[in-house]
Amino acid sequence: MDLIVCLKRVPQTAEAEVQIGPSGKEIVRDRLTFDMNEADSYALEEAILLKEKFGGTITVISLGLPDAEDTLRIALAKGADHAIRIKAEDFGELDGFKTASLLKDALVNVKFDVLLTGCVATDDSLYQVGPVLAELLGAPHATLVGKIEIAGEKAHVNRELEGGLIEHLEMSLPAVFAVQTGINEPRYASLIAIRRAAGKEIKLLGKDDIPSEHRVNSTLEKLFVPPAGKRAEIMTGTADEVSARTASLIKEKGLI
């Protein structure tokens, strides 16, 4: 089974303070740590599980700056066979559509049965790359995938809908799946695998390799801190004081 996984290196912002840089269009990067996008790490693990079950090869691809190679190399250590970096530095402003079109051009000669990616990246929250890439490649897709079972040419796929409901689909391969977090348990790379991955080649694709024009669908005009909406009444004081106030508040509401 030939597998492709699209990966993105993103700043880890879930528990970090995010500041806007001087241009007003980018964030201050230096105090953030960067790592594989969370949903993508599940997509990678799902590909490794499929490879373990059916054999074949995994190609990982990332559109990113040079440090994305660290992320690709980790993917190689975990079980990918080939890695490609599309040099983001060559392509100017990106959005979900342009990212997918560049990926498509890079992958046009790579055969695949299953192409996996995370359903969303935590930095741009677009949910776009999987389905747009599928459309450009002429393959069917499913997003928010929480389970994949493959038998022969068919895949049984569960999508996670709102309210805990699951949509069960039957799809034929090749197909593109944008997977949800939690679909599996991403592994750690073993030391031996790390050592072997260290020397592997990462293929670079730049402007000369992907010469065609790629348009963006949208242009970022500015970043700003979300306006405070209905702001909570913040209680101040020691843990003891705020807890006492909270407890009596709950009591006033008749809940104790």
């Binding site: 660290d70 190399r73 980790i74 250590a77 750690y188 790379a189 073993s190 030391l191 031996i192 790390i194 050592r195 991955a197 260290a198």
Partner: protein, 380 residues
């Protein structure tokens, strides 16, 4: 001159850090309290190749160098000091002397078991009356036919209660003083071997630190490491290597304390502002961070000396171990200080880190011994 980690070292650091923070750190307070040896964690680490970091692949190891081992030990210790030293002992005090000083047969027999986590290793050197003064050891091994008959008692043996394979030191000829000491590989299930009392330690409490008893233990002749009388040399060379890892463990513990202190100082408010705004706290944090960085560089340099194949790196190893343990005690103390009264409570990790750090100045050569090693390299 290049301070960058290599590509594989960077990946190793990334994966070990994630593993340790996710899988080991949550257990650290628990096993500190219970003293339970972290077998499930060790099995997971075996799968990742962390129990045989420097062992070549053909013996079931990962085939990394000593700087890489130090990086791994730092990350493991940053999450859990007990687990850090357990893994350090398995790597540098057990697999290393077997790899360096044993026959091909012994390597093939024991290294795969130690790398796979099937058995864990321990280092039987210290005795009730022989600590820094190694030559004061009382254990003996006498050759009878195809076996050495080993007698004696070892004390304060990390992993002692749970290990399956022991590197043990005993006199084969007491008249030759330290040149009469020999080293052996002893299996746990050999008749006459038993585990004695479990030490109730101040820190690193999950390390199965025990007394070992040898009563007419019959060890096959071929389990001798090197030649008869090589024991002291093997011991000193092995300790040179392991001191790099104790240095790494110290850096890991200190880094964990700094992480906690920085976070706390940003959250904790006094006089209407976060305490990290106060200059005295800033000074503490600056000192801690600088000490840690200096210690880490010493540790990496000592590993680099070993990797480069330097015959004599005792001084570099001793410097890294001495300095890193010294600052680990200092940094953890400062971290408690930054936490104020809370730092003295078991609710906060720094209380444990402070206790864990103290052993660093005592085991695998006290700080005083390290200074002797360093000074004598310069004066003799």
């Amino acid at each position: 001159m290049n301070f960058d980690l290599t590509s594989d070292q960077k990946m190793l650091q990334d994966q070990v850090r994630k593993f340790a923070q996710t899988e080991l750190a949550p257990l650290a307070p628990e096993i500190d309290k219970s003293g339970e040896f972290p077998w499930p964690s060790l099995k997971k680490m075996a799968k990742l190749g962390l129990l045989g970091v420097i062992v070549p692949e053909k013996y079931g190891g990962s085939g990394f160098d000593f700087v890489s081992l130090a990086i791994a030990i730092e990350e493991i210790s940053r999450a859990c000091a007990s687990t850090g030293v357990i893994v350090a002992v398995n790597n540098s005090l057990t697999t290393y002397p077997i790899l360096e000083f044993s026959s091909e047969e012994l390597k093939k027999k024991y290294l795969p078991q130690l790398c796979s986590g099937e058995k864990i290793g321990a280092f039987g050197l210290t005795e009730p009356n022989a600590g820094s003064d190694v030559a004061a050891m009382e254990s003996t091994a006498r050759l009878e036919g195809d076996h050495y008959i080993v007698n004696g008692t070892k004390r304060f043996i990390t992993n002692g209660g749970e290990a399956g394979i022991y590197v043990v030191f005993a006199y084969t000829n007491r008249d030759l003083k330290h040149k009469g000491i020999s080293a052996f590989v002893v299996e746990r299930d050999t008749p006459g071997f038993s585990v004695g009392k479990h030490e109730d330690l101040m820190g690193i409490r999950a390390t199965a630190n025990c007394e070992l008893m040898f009563e007419d233990v019959k060890v096959p002749k071929e389990n001798l490491l090197g030649k008869e009388g090589d024991g002291f040399k093997i011991c000193m060379n092995t300790l040179d290597v392991s001191r790099i890892d104790i240095g790494a463990q110290a850096v890991g513990i200190a880094q964990a304390a700094l992480d906690e202190a920085v976070r706390y100082s940003k959250e904790r408010k006094a006089f209407g502002q976060p305490i990290c705004n106060f200059e005295m706290i800033e000074a503490l944090i600056a000192e801690m961070a600088t000490e840690i960085q200096a210690a880490r560089l010493l540790v990496h340099y000592a590993g680099f000396c070993k990797d480069k194949g330097m015959q004599k790196f005792s001084k570099e190893a001793a410097m890294s171990k001495y300095y890193a343990s010294d600052i680990a005690v200092d940094v953890t103390r400062k971290a408690v200080q930054i936490h104020g009264g809370y730092g003295y409570s078991k609710e906060y990790a720094v209380e444990r880190l402070y206790r864990d750090a103290k052993i660093l100045e005592l085991y695998e050569g006290t700080s005083e011994i390290q200074k002797i090693v360093i000074a004598r390299e310069l004066t003799r």
